[in-house]
Symmetry: C2
Subunit: 268 residues, 2 copies
């Protein structure tokens, strides 16, 4: 998907919501376990309930891998089921030497046809650039993550007083551009959003950490938006596990509507 198409979807839907498909067999409504592929049944229900309210879906690969080959099949079916005009993100946090990253890129972009994949920057240039060689595909590099452990290394300051996340966000712009590169910037650090936006004015940020992890969407929007909105705010558990009875789909829709409504208000 092009940046232009993504921005257009955001404007049309008045939403910059990304729904995280962290599908866990121990958390989905019990009655779905009777299906042959409960993971796919659940995802299908989530997609049906939210596809007019969100602009992106983000399956977290860990949840599918944990089920072995069956999980990969559920993931493939889910990908096929997502409407074509919705942005898809493989939350895989891969990153390896050049020839291996190339293989991951082919897997996620050609074999599975995701629009984007998340990548950890620790191994530098050749771990990231192989993902940039596909038309209208995106790499989403970890900048400042939403978890507690983000404090361990990402805030380290170099001899000029610049943090590691600053270096990563700046350096990656030598390799990609706002049409093929985004950053993960966690909502749990609202105080840094203005600073990070200044480092990467025209880039989209994928923002985890709103909801279950405690981040504040208003602060994120205020300090993080740009002329294209430039944000994909992810919510996983808060939306997909909003209910677990027979009416779970309505609960999911209700929760997603709430989030979309507050995005609509912010964008107004």
């Amino acid at each position: 998907m092009t940046k232009q198409a993504l921005v257009q979807n955001i404007r049309e839907k008045q939403s910059f919501l990304c729904v995280g498909l962290d599908t866990d067999l121990t958390k989905i409504p019990h009655h779905l376990l009777a299906y042959q592929d409960p993971v796919f049944e659940f995802n299908k229900a989530v997609i049906d309930a939210t596809k007019d309210l969100c602009v992106a879906y983000k399956p977290n690969l860990a949840f599918y891998e944990s089920l072995g080959p069956k999980g990969w099949k559920s993931l493939e079916k889910t990908l096929e089921y997502i409407p074509e005009n919705i942005f898809t993100i493989a939350d895989a946090k891969r990153g390896d030497i050049g020839n291996t990253s190339k293989m991951y890129a082919k897997t996620f972009f050609e074999y599975m046809n995701f629009d984007a994949v998340t990548v950890a920057p620790y191994m530098g240039k050749d771990s990231i650039t192989p993902f940039l060689e596909f038309d209208d595909k995106w790499v989403i590099v970890l900048g400042l993550t939403s978890n507690e452990g983000s404090a361990d290394f990402q805030y380290l300051k170099d001899q000029d007083g610049r943090t590691l996340y600053d270096k990563v966000i700046t350096k990656a712009q030598e390799w990609g551009n706002p049409n093929n590169l985004m950053y993960v910037v966690g909502a749990t650090h609202p105080e840094t959003f203005a600073e990070i936006r200044a480092l990467a004015k025209d880039f989209f940020f994928l923002v985890p950490g709103v909801g279950a992890q405690g981040g504040d969407m208003n602060a994120v929007f205020k300090h993080g938006k740009n002329d294209d909105i430039g944000l994909l705010v992810n919510s996983s558990r808060d939306i997909i596990y909003a209910g677990n009875g027979l009416d779970f789909q309505e609960e999911i829709r209700r929760k997603a509507q709430q989030v979309q409504k507050s995005m609509n208000d912010l964008m107004a």
Copy 2:
């Protein structure tokens, strides 16, 4: 596997060789493509040809994922085929927030029964500690990698002049110990081996980059060994693609014997 068992295997086999199973359908001998599961047939041949010469196998997950659910099945069969007293490493370079890392740990340690998994440190403590909660299982944290891109961020110096890899290697010792934690230290930086060994005296290092990537095993051994040897030197392409005719298995064995012989000489 315990550290004691690993060290004993190294002494008995006079080898600290890890064979990387980077199995690529475009590179394996053509005649194997007639089999129903060519990836597994090839791996089986590699294992049969090298199991008395090496102490570890390291499948690179990218190569299996690129084949979808079928690839995961080949990987599962390969894992089952590896003799129990050989250390197995999932070269996956995962790393995510706590609840996701926990899921990856379960996948690789419980579902697949690997001994170890490689993890990227960018996301800090909660991305690593979930892998430390399993008895006789290991996390192998990226320290200084072998690729060109390692220069982009890993050598960044903080205000006390300490590099990022130094910080990672030091900090991770607050979370794990020499019985459940190793580091990736690339053979392409032999000048740093003495420094890194001083930072982590009793820890094992998984050393990629000998062979195709140009690293020098003698220098690695000289500056990197400790009282337990403390090294697993990986070779992938150089060994597994040593031949591609009908006699490929003999070529693989010949190459692995050469490497084991030089390890034997170094250990003598």
